[in-house]
């Protein structure tokens, strides 16, 4: 139902306006494609220049990720924690919060999950005398992971709202603290390092603290898939249906105006950080509980937090796009690992393995650059011809 407006512009003017609107949108839609195309071109040029066959390089990426069902299962196992962390970041980035601390939040989630394993599966006297079965233990793992991750993010939120510390700076600091805390726990005779061990990791978790896995694909757990889908549904509901999502959008676009319009920006900041932190925590739990890991290692996150930040930026904070973009990044990352070994051993490629990072970064850089170029050369019309122009100051 279109409400009546006093001066209805002529229909031709309206078609013109609609057409202009579509033309305005085009660069925004095409930008990432141009970016990826440009990145591929540059990658091909780099490989050619290094004397490597781009086709062979792509074969490695393909073989490492998509070729066989087993590889695809591994890919999904890598994709799930990345996706769930990205969903959380959709909330904070929508609210204009640069949650750089997500890496630390993932790490704290991993620590929280391990803590739950120690309390409920390894301890002879679990708290409150709770003797849980495998499902109960895993449930506690996810709860602990979500809470510790949320707490870590909440800290950054409190520092921002109460202390006026930018979340980027506190995020960097909290990442560092989380990393150090993790190392304290598992190295040099730390409390969680098994006695007599010199490896910087905990012992493998007992049988009843391991995620169930598919019969054919031992490294992939259906639980992580269910939880990730659940997280996606929650974030999509928040973003597209709830008032809270609208408030986050409003304060992300203009915090001051949103506050004046009645949005409780500080409370939302804390909540968005905590919600993101809990999802990051779940990602951490996925990483340590994964059937092929089942221990807390020195790098429980494996850098997926930073990867998730890129995912969300490239998806322009769209909850719908995030699963796809995170999948692309999962392919790039997993394929990159395969390519690295290719660079080492294949005589057709024989390149420095660090070149993989260069290639991955090129893609990110070019897509970001394409967005920048779009804003520079096709600025979104900030003032598309208004319906009337009568209010121009005539004095």
């Amino acid at each position: 139902m279109a409400p009546t407006i006093r001066q209805r512009p002529s229909s031709s003017a309206r078609t013109g306006a609609t057409w202009r609107y579509v033309l305005d949108l085009l660069p925004a839609i095409l930008a990432p494609f141009f970016g990826i195309a440009a990145a591929l071109l540059i990658i091909v040029l780099i490989l050619e220049w290094q004397g490597a066959d781009p086709q062979v390089a792509w074969d490695y990426v393909y073989e490492g990720t998509l070729e066989s069902a087993a590889k695809r299962a591994d890919l999904v196992a890598f994709w799930m924690p990345l996706a769930v962390a990205s969903f959380g970041l959709v909330l904070t980035y929508t609210a204009g919060l640069w949650n750089i601390g997500v890496e630390g939040q993932i790490m704290m989630g991993a620590i929280g999950a391990t803590w739950a394993v120690r309390l409920f599966a390894e301890s002879s006297s679990p708290p409150l005398g709770l003797r849980l079965g495998r499902d109960g233990i895993l449930f506690m793992c996810f709860v602990f992971a979500a809470l510790t991750g949320a707490l870590w993010a909440f800290l950054a939120g409190v520092l921002k709202t109460r202390g006026g510390v930018n979340e980027i700076f506190s995020g960097v600091a909290l990442n560092f603290i989380a990393q150090t805390f993790n190392m304290y726990l598992i190295s040099n005779g730390g409390p969680w390092q098994p006695p007599g061990s010199r490896a910087t990791e905990t012992a493998r978790f007992p049988e009843n603290a391991r995620l169930p896995s598919f019969e054919e694909y031992r490294r992939l757990s259906p639980t992580t898939i269910y939880i990730t889908i659940g997280a996606f549904v929650v974030v999509a509901l928040i973003m597209y249906v709830s008032r809270w999502g609208l408030q986050l959008r409003a304060q992300g676009k203009n915090r001051k105006s949103a506050f004046l319009l009645g949005v409780r920006t500080d409370r939302n900041t804390l909540l968005a950080m905590a919600a993101c932190g809990s999802m990051a925590g779940l990602a951490g739990a996925f990483r340590v509980l994964a059937p092929d890991v089942t221990k807390l290692t020195a790098t429980p996150s494996g850098g997926i937090g930073f990867l998730a930040i890129l995912v969300v930026l490239l998806a322009s904070m769209s909850a719908i796009l995030t699963p796809f973009v995170s999948f692309v990044f999962a392919v790039l990352s997993k394929g990159g690992q395969r390519l690295e070994s290719g660079f080492q051993w294949d005589h057709d490629l024989l390149l420095d393995r660090s070149l993989v990072r260069v290639l991955q970064s090129t893609i990110v850089l070019m897509v970001v650059l394409a967005f920048g170029a779009r804003n520079r050369f096709f600025p979104p019309h900030s003032a598309q011809p208004a319906v009337d122009d009568e209010d121009v100051d005539r004095t």
């Binding site: 139902m1 409400p3 009546t4 319009l261 100051d393 004095t395």
Partner: protein, 487 residues
């Protein structure tokens, strides 16, 4: 030195700050550039001192066209400007600031600079310690430092933007005698940008008056102060007749408030506003009105004093608590504080409509948006992004977003940047709210607007306030004198 401005025009978006201004400054004289807030004085002087470039027009220095694309260009041409806020580096000493900006090698010659500095302080009788740190100086002393710095750069034309705001009486006297000496003895051109009539009459030989970006008149001084006031404020809108307020319970009651503005501390601020009363806050920008109005809505914690809404003490309550008590605030910067660029009209309503449900009722938001924008005559569609509306429509839309039932409405410059018709429309809406019992407190730089719509006027000047209880006797000219400090 003779500086001539020819047909200078400058626009910022829709606002035409300067329109076709031509004027000439001769050496050895002291000029005033007069005008109310937003008349375009500062813009014109920034163009002359190379800080901004004009859209069109030319600047002649000693009959030679000059291109001034940066302040250093202007200084090379002998034009220096003393800005309203001193441009110094507080963590450094007086001497280091004095050296900053001087041409010279990589290593400044501080001994020679010190001698030059001491010679200047001696000549003008300034008591400035070259080794003191700037952050302990008063505004007046920082001005003195800046003037000496400009003089040491061989400036022949000195522009001073509102130099007497925030300095003591003695510092003002010292400043004026220095300026007179520079004009008389050194043949310099002094240009004083001000809206303080007293200062202009005391110091200047000649005044140019700007209004709404145009040069509207010039006068040799001495002349009657009323002539300058008439030029500054132009025609006067007649006060509208309307029923007098019968004061009921006070909606807003402020007692002995103290707020700190940029340079001034405003003390002993007391005010009672009752239902259906409109109070206009008059004063130069930065006289404390903005802080006062923000204190009354929980956005600015006052230093001291008590604020009551509907008789309840809310002195340090949050903005949201004020909002719940029926107080609404509409700031001056619509797109910066109030509306959200990139969101549609419907999204704005979805955000602000009171609702207990956790989800958005988009149908209701869409319907209400349609109704309200029709009622408030907003020319736009519910799906239009708010930044695509024109200024007047944005203002009407911001008004339409306010809750229907309000106890107190606080506004900053409700009609700024709007043409007469749009401004009238806004006031129609505001007066309709007044008729329903809403009390209104507004800040405006347009004296006509204050005189025309207020039931009481609070004048802010120099750290104190004066309440004009019966504005029927008030004229814009008299008000102009009041805010210029002439009681």
């Amino acid at each position: 030195m003779r500086v001539e401005l020819q047909h200078i025009s400058k626009a910022f978006g829709r606002v035409r700050a300067n329109q076709d201004i031509s004027l000439t400054f001769e050496g050895g004289r002291i000029y005033a550039i007069l005008g109310e807030n937003g008349a375009g004085k500062s813009t014109l002087m920034k163009i002359m001192s190379g800080y901004q470039s004009a859209d069109s027009g030319a600047i002649l220095v000693n009959d030679q066209p000059a291109t001034l694309s940066a302040p250093t260009d202007a200084i090379e041409h002998g034009i220096g400007m003393l800005y309203q806020d001193p441009l110094d580096f507080p963590p450094f000493t007086v001497l280091e600031n004095f050296i900053a900006g001087r041409p010279g090698g990589f290593f400044p010659d501080s001994e020679r600079a010190r001698r030059a500095f001491l010679a200047l302080t001696e000549r003008f009788g300034f008591a400035l310690d070259p080794d003191a740190y700037v952050d302990i100086l008063t505004i007046g002393e920082r001005q003195q430092l800046e003037i000496m710095r400009l003089l040491s750069l061989n400036v022949q034309v000195l522009v001073l933007d509102e130099p007497t705001t925030g300095i003591s009486a003695e510092q003002k006297n010292a400043l004026f005698s220095v300026l007179k000496s520079l004009a008389r003895d050194d043949g310099m051109t002094i240009i004083l940008v001000s809206h303080k009539l007293e200062d202009v009459i005391e110091l200047c030989d000649y005044a140019f008056v700007l209004r709404r970006g145009r040069l509207v008149g010039q006068k040799a001084i001495p002349c009657p102060i009323s002539d300058l006031v008439a030029l500054m404020f132009g025609k006067v809108i007649e006060r509208q007749e309307r029923p007098l307020v019968v004061c009921g319970l006070p909606v807003l009651s402020v007692q002995d408030l103290r707020v700190i503005s940029q340079r001034l501390t405003v003390e002993h601020l007391s005010l009672e506003v009752c239902e259906s009363e409109v109070i206009g806050l008059a004063g130069l920008d930065g006289s404390g009105q903005a802080e006062f109005i923000r204190a009354c809505t929980g956005l600015y914690p006052p230093e001291n004093g008590v604020i009551r809404i509907n008789g309840r003490d809310m002195t340090r309550a949050s903005y949201h608590a004020f909002k719940r008590a029926g107080v609404a605030f509409l700031p001056a910067g619509r797109m910066e504080e109030g509306l959200i660029k990139g969101m549609t009209l419907t999204q704005h309503f979805a955000l602000t409509l009171p609702s207990r449900a956790p989800w958005v009722n988009w149908m209701r938001a869409w319907r209400v948006t349609g109704e309200r924008i029709q009622h408030f005559n907003v020319k736009g569609r519910p799906g239009s992004p708010v930044q695509t509306l024109s200024g007047g429509n944005q203002q009407r839309f911001a008004l339409s977003l306010l809750p229907q039932k309000l106890r107190l409405l606080l506004l900053e410059h409700p009609a700024r940047g709007l043409d007469v018709e749009s401004a009238n429309y806004i006031w129609e809406q505001l007066l309709a709210r007044r008729a329903n019992g809403t009390a209104i407190v507004f800040i405006s730089a347009e004296l006509d607007e204050i005189v025309a719509y207020s039931d009481g006027i609070l004048v802010f000047f120099g750290g104190s306030v004066t309440l004009v209880e019966d504005p029927t006797e008030m004229t814009a000219n008299r008000l102009g004198e009041l805010i210029g400090g002439r009681l």
